[in-house]
Chain length 176, copies 2
């Protein structure tokens, strides 16, 4: 008898896929994702075209249309999905962005900027001469560092992912 799992054939075991959807969604939840948003996102991720309709999502996840609506609104806002409507169709399609992780980190930068502003007020309240004040200012500088460096990191990711030539190692990581 041949092996029961032709892993290179395009025949996905729907049950295994469903298990994966739930598990990865749970992982993302630990990372701060709203639960339903995580499940919807992973469902789109495992769809063959990388896009689903709301009806498909509601059906395959066994949830209401309202839940899907709320989840996609969140996912679009954080940049992980885009809405598409093909002319001649009434159904929206929700598609994962090709540079979804880049987008997700870009939003993070806005958040970091806000935190920096809060920290500036904290430094002022405590006084720059105090130990607490300088500790707070170091925290602010850390966030500033991230805000500057994360976009560069994402650029390097794009470069590595697109120019998949033949230099997987020995990169000094210092050329914009």
């Amino acid at each position: 008898m041949s092996e029961t799992t032709p892993s290179s054939a395009p025949r996905p075991d729907e049950q295994a896929v469903a298990r994966f959807v739930e598990r990865f969604a749970l992982d993302l939840t630990q990372g701060g994702f709203p639960r339903m948003a995580a499940r919807v996102f992973v469902r789109v991720l495992v769809s063959e075209d990388g896009a689903c309709t709301a009806a498909e999502l509601a059906e395959s996840l066994g949830v209401s249309a309202a839940a899907v609506s709320g989840a996609v609104r969140y996912l679009i806002r954080v940049g992980l999905l885009v809405r598409e409507r093909e002319p001649g169709s009434r159904r929206d399609h929700y598609r994962v962005r090709d540079d979804m992780w880049y987008e997700a980190f870009a939003r993070r930068d806005e958040q970091l900027g806000g935190w920096e502003e809060t920290l500036r007020q904290g430094v002022a309240a405590l006084g720059v001469g105090t130990r607490a004040g300088s500790r707070l200012d170091e925290t602010r500088r850390f966030f500033e560092f991230l805000r500057v460096e994360l976009p560069k990191l994402m650029d390097r990711w794009r470069a590595q992912r697109d120019g998949h030539g033949a230099a997987p190692e020995a990169d000094s990581a210092d050329s914009p």
Copy 2:
């Protein structure tokens, strides 16, 4: 008991500090922190020595000892606080780590590793030949990229913070 603030030190406006504590804690909450953990953490952050007792935290935040206990357990687990007990005292002190952000990101790496493993299973379930499978594998490679690069980024932060005013690249924006 007779430990008073040095007269030459600036005077922190306690009300402004309290406002900052609540605001920054709220910011951190948006980023996925449990609420009470965020408030406790910021309280320690703004303390002059960078350490507080549970009683001090409960008092200044107006919450129960139980809430503090739960919050510090979380904060210690994610590496943002360390517990200290001075010999001869019964009180624990909770101190912010000097490399707290480094630690926080280090834990993130463990999480990323787990996600990669989940994604491997997803690739197997979908088949490497499918579009969904390769999309999933690209996601896995992205997390792998982060897991490798984030520690390097943190090393660069440490270097910049420890006073390397002259960066290898003309990149610095502020002067300490």
